[in-house]
């Protein structure tokens, strides 16, 4: 359902993505792994409309998603949780959540979504009136994911949710992502430096190296691939 063909993205004079092609079926959780500077974040930012593509195409169902603005793509069910705990620290937890559903006309449905997010992350429910900068790193990441869930997305683009979190918290966040994908039938594109953790929960894996795809396959197969293990899993 998500079809990316020969995607080329330039940052000024530097080419960040050299013709990347990726196919993800509906309901799949795909992990994009690779070192710093491999183009993982650029890939997500281009898909959500924050960066401009130089060439290539990307479609979600019948929708051409390149050259659209992020605020319009949200309305088509594509939600991007950007890198580094993407919450607004000055707003309260409650306001951060509501922000994700402001564009939805139906207030009842938005309130229902908020209830669902709080059920999913009860710790957010206990802290609704606190400012987001009073949260721990893990709670902020929950809030960032919770905010994007307020838009009732079908395609979720997650940029390094494990960044800067303690191992135990990383495990919880990854488990929540897996649970969300399965229970809501979401399609998820997860970008991660934590290759092992990401490949454990993913259905398929894509290895990005210096802006090109180095390997792709089922997550289980990539976990067992000696070359991938040596380069990205560290053993």
């Amino acid at each position: 359902m998500l079809r990316i063909k020969n995607l080329v993205v330039d940052h000024g004079a530097i080419r960040a993505l050299h013709g990347v092609s990726i196919s993800i079926e509906k309901g799949q959780l795909a992990a994009v792994i690779g070192a710093n500077g491999a183009g993982k974040t650029t890939l997500l930012r281009t898909l959500s409309g924050l960066n401009k593509a130089t060439d290539g195409s990307a479609t979600w169902g019948d929708l051409n998603i390149l050259h659209s603005k992020p605020e319009s793509l949200v309305r088509h069910g594509i939600s991007h949780v950007s890198e580094g705990k993407s919450v607004i620290p000055e707003l309260t937890v409650s306001e951060n959540l509501e922000l994700g559903a402001l564009w939805r006309r139906n207030r009842k449905e938005s309130a229902q979504s908020k209830k669902e997010v709080v059920d999913l992350f009860p710790r957010l429910g206990e802290r609704l009136s606190q400012r987001a900068d009073s949260l721990s790193g893990g709670e902020r990441q929950m809030l960032a994911i919770g905010r994007s869930m307020m838009a009732k997305p079908q395609l979720l683009l997650l940029d390094e949710p494990s960044l800067g979190l303690a191992p135990l918290v990383v495990e919880q966040i990854f488990q929540s992502i897996r649970d969300l994908t399965t229970s809501l039938g979401l399609t998820v594109l997860l970008v991660e430096q934590n290759a092992m953790g990401a490949l454990k929960i993913a259905d398929i894996g894509i290895v990005l190296n210096l802006g090109s795809i180095a390997a792709t396959g089922s997550a289980a197969a990539l976990r067992d691939d000696p070359a991938v293990r040596a380069a990205y899993l560290g053993f």
Binding site: S48, L50, K69, P70, E71, V74, R75, S79, H80, V81, S82, S86, V87, I88, P89, E90, L91, E95, E98, L99, G100, L102, W103, R147, S148, A151
Partner: protein, 302 residues
């Protein structure tokens, strides 16, 4: 004691008007990170609109809201047609960061020239709707007059409305979110471009009110070269900086502080020191409390 009390009343009234101007400047700074010198021109032009409407209808209470609408429209127009294209093009290079500031100075000049062309030597007259004669307390006339009471009432009402809008409505949440983090706001589905234009529009309405009130509180008439408006712009900026430039609450605190200090200086040291004092206060604040008198270090407030 009686004299000091009167000075306070004069200072609070003038300060409340500076607060409105400071709010106009803070709103634009927060929504687009532009230092908006055109705010003075927008206030001036809207005040002229107010005087024209007053001339036609004879009613201050029709002239004020129409002047506010005019200020909002002019401000939104400037954002949409001048600043937005400029900001889209300008990058991080030092000379490009100055472009929007120079542009707002240019727009201020253009607005004054157009007013000069249209009105020539004619002045706009803004007859106050209420008496400027002070209330009599135990046989003596105090500085608080029905007119000053009205000015304070209008400013207070506007601040309550703005607070409610910012804290209680979806529009307010969008405005705050877009100023704190445009990118996260866009990813959340907020049309940040539209919200920015609305921020400028609210700023224009606040500036228009400041202009009308400054005129009624002062000479009661306005010319394209009115010195009162240069003062309003400068004092509005000083008040905004005193308040920490990010904060609406700070803008109000800054305006009132400045108004009272300047009134005391005017009373006891004479008018020649007022302008000088405003800049001394500005520099002191920049040195001692660069985040403003209500600012939290490194923090931003709604």
């Amino acid at each position: 004691m009686f004299e000091f009390f009167n000075t306070l009343l004069i200072g609070i009234t003038a300060g409340s008007i500076y607060s409105l101007m400071a709010i106009a400047i803070v709103l634009v700074w927060r929504s687009t990170r532009v230092v908006n010198f055109a705010a003075g021109g927008i206030a001036l032009a809207s005040t002229f609109v107010g005087t024209t409407i007053l001339e036609i209808t004879g009613s201050f209470w029709i002239a004020l809201p129409i002047a506010m609408l005019a200020g909002a429209a002019l401000s939104a127009f400037i954002e949409f047609f001048f600043l937005r294209p400029l900001l889209k093009r300008s990058g991080e290079k030092t000379q490009e960061i100055f472009l929007p500031i120079i542009a707002t100075l240019g727009i201020l000049g253009i607005i004054k020239s157009v007013l000069q062309f249209v009105y020539g030597d004619r002045i706009g007259v803004l007859t106050p709707p209420l008496s400027d004669r002070g209330f009599i307390v135990s046989g003596e006339s105090i500085a608080l007059s029905p007119l000053r009471l009205m000015i304070l009432g209008i400013v207070l009402l506007l601040m309550i409305v703005l607070t409610l809008v910012f804290q209680r409505t979806n529009l307010g949440l969008s405005l705050r979110a877009a100023s704190f983090s445009p990118e996260i706001s866009r990813l959340s589905g907020i049309r940040v471009d539209l919200i920015r234009t609305l921020g400028w529009a609210i700023s224009g309405a606040a500036g228009a009110t400041a202009g009308i009130l400054q005129t009624t509180n002062g000479s009661g008439s306005v010319s394209p070269e009115a010195f009162e408006f240069s003062l309003l712009l400068v004092f509005g900026f000083v008040a905004a900086v005193i308040g920490g430039i990010e904060s609406l609450v700070g803008a109000v605190a800054g305006g009132l502080t400045l108004g009272v200090i300047l009134a005391i200086i005017l009373m006891y040291f004479g008018s020649s020191l007022v302008f000088f004092a405003a800049f001394v206060i500005l520099i002191l604040v920049l040195f001692l409390r660069p985040n403003g008198i209500v600012g939290v270090k490194g923090g931003r407030r709604a």
